[in-house]
């Protein structure tokens, strides 16, 4: 379980997170919605310890990670996998080495076992046999899937997805949604998905929360989200430019 309490973070002049509270139960998939720049990715980076909050607490399985030393933080991070918005594949490494990097660095596995696990993860994401390719030669959808295979490589308990379908065509976006959903069912991992793509959000979520002006303004199931009376949530869900959220 992940418990976030009173999280505040200011970046420059902007108060990005302004007292965020969030509970993520084991095995559930929580989708964090919100406009671009609303602090969704910043929240995700706090959960995995890539950013330090100005105030507040983050507990992962009752372990406080705010203020934790880098070494202890690394042992917490090893329970996580993260898919970055741009996939963040290492350009200098092949696809196989990208997916196998964590295995080689953390587990003393022989090369055959690493290659077997890499091939298996790539097969899970529908990319069998691409180990020798370089990230530069992959399409956007393939990069996301390789990023997902890398996130899955260490058998994480938690997977964080930062805009998994942004920049993809609708068909590829749907394929990624299906893939994430099927992996969640198969592996039973706890997932936090950050997105402003409502089509994807409804397909993936057990629960949806909305971040607006640095605060959590809504939490509910996909059906509750569709029926939400909160004006901010309704405007966002409907994709309307008129309402309490000013488009510019």
């Amino acid at each position: 379980m992940i418990r976030v309490r009173g999280l505040r973070k200011r970046l420059g002049a902007k108060q990005v997170l302004d007292g965020v509270d969030l509970d993520i139960q084991a095995g559930e998939t929580v989708v964090v919605m919100g406009r671009s720049g609303s602090g969704k990715s910043v929240l995700l980076k706090h959960i995995i310890g890539l950013m330090t909050p100005d105030e507040g607490s983050i507990e992962v399985e009752e372990q406080e990670i705010v203020g934790m030393g880098e070494r202890d933080l690394d042992s917490v991070r090893r329970r996580f996998g993260m898919l970055f918005q741009s996939a963040a594949l290492f350009d200098s490494l092949t696809v196989g080495d990208n997916v196998g990097l964590g295995l080689r660095e953390h587990l003393r596995l022989d090369d055959t076992e690493v290659r077997r696990r890499v091939a298996e993860r790539l097969e899970w994401v529908g990319l069998a046999g691409v180990e020798a390719m370089k990230p530069a030669s992959l399409s956007g959808g393939m990069r996301k899937r390789v990023g997902l295979a890398r996130a899955l490589a260490m058998d994480p308990q938690y997977i964080l997805y930062d805009e998994p379908t942004t920049g993809l065509d609708p068909i590829m976006a749907d394929a990624i949604d299906q893939l994430i959903r099927s992996l969640q069912k198969r592996l039973g991992v706890t997932s936090v998905v950050v997105t402003h793509d409502m089509t994807s959000a409804y397909k993936m979520a057990d629960r949806m929360v909305m971040l607006h002006e640095g605060k959590m303004v809504f939490s509910g199931t996909p059906d509750e989200t569709r029926a939400a009376t909160n004006a901010v949530v309704r405007q966002f869900v409907q994709g309307s430019s008129t309402g309490p959220i000013r488009p510019l």
Binding site: K45, I48, G49, L50, E70, D74, S75, R77, R78, F80, M82, F84, Q85, S86, A88, L89, F90, D91, S92, L101, G102, E105, H106, R150, M154
Partner: protein, 267 residues
């Protein structure tokens, strides 16, 4: 009052001075982390060897060309200044000592500041702005151990190696000019090299190269990690890494020359 020019000037100088102090502090922290992660970082020897290859093989032809012409110019200049003053048979020794004490390490340091410092800063800067460094941290792989240690260590090892190569090529460049253009015999030039060669001269050059390697590696990594923004930020980081490396190579050359020749190798 705030718009009064001298007040603005003082405020600007104070801000820049504080920024400078903060930057020195951040570089010191990077060096401390390098020392802390040195042993675990070297355990992955393949990455260190790969970086050594990138620095050495990648810079080979540049060092060869620069050194060849540096030695040739040193011979031409020395011959011009010797005319009617110093016997020409000392030409080889002057080329040798000026190359191994000063020209070899400093020019190799400056050339590799441009070639290696910029490439490290650009690579790490690109990794920073494309979230690859965040991805490493998210995978519990410390970027200092994985990225900084192999690069800085490889630069520290390869600078002396490239300096020895540069010394040899430059002395050969001087030989070519002495024999083909100035009219010295091959024997006179080589005898002059042997007569005046001192191990401590070579050692002083290599000690300088060792420090220059550290400067180039640390500056490249520091500015790479400090990159903000996109392509513009990467360009800025690259330029800053090269400028800082070149300036620090020259300043440290002066400091090391004093320490080495006034204290360590004074006798």
């Amino acid at each position: 009052m705030d718009d009064f020019l001298p007040v603005r000037g003082v405020r600007y100088v104070r801000t820049r001075a504080l920024d400078g102090v903060a930057e020195v502090g951040r570089v010191a922290i990077l060096m401390r982390d390098f020392a802390r992660f040195l042993v675990p970082g070297l355990s992955s020897f393949g990455r260190v060897i790969q970086q050594m290859g990138t620095i050495g093989v990648g810079s080979l032809w540049l060092v060869v060309v620069v050194s060849l012409f540096t030695g040739a110019v040193a011979a031409v200049q020395a011959a011009y200044q010797f005319t009617s003053v110093v016997p020409m048979r000392y030409l080889g020794s002057v080329v040798l000592r000026s190359v191994i004490i000063e020209l070899g390490p400093v020019l190799t340091g400056l050339v590799l500041s441009g070639r290696v410092g910029s490439s490290i800063a650009a690579e790490l800067g690109t990794m920073k702005v494309t979230e690859q460094i965040d991805a490493l941290r998210a995978m519990a792989i410390h970027p200092i151990r994985y990225l900084v240690v192999p690069r800085v260590f490889a630069a520290i090892v390869m600078l002396p190696v490239m300096t020895v190569l540069s010394d040899a090529i430059a002395v050969f460049g001087g030989y070519v000019v002495a024999v083909t253009s100035i009219g010295m015999s091959s024997h006179t030039y080589t005898q002059s090299l042997k007569d005046f060669f001192l191990v401590k001269d070579l050692l002083s050059g290599l000690i300088k190269a060792f420090f220059f390697g550290g400067i180039i590696g640390v500056m490249g990594c520091y500015y790479g990690f400090a990159t903000e923004g996109g392509a513009e930020g990467v360009g800025l980081a690259t330029t800053r890494a090269v400028v800082a490396s070149c300036v620090l190579v020259l300043i440290s050359d002066y400091v090391l020359a004093n320490v080495l020749f006034r204290f360590i190798f004074a006798k």
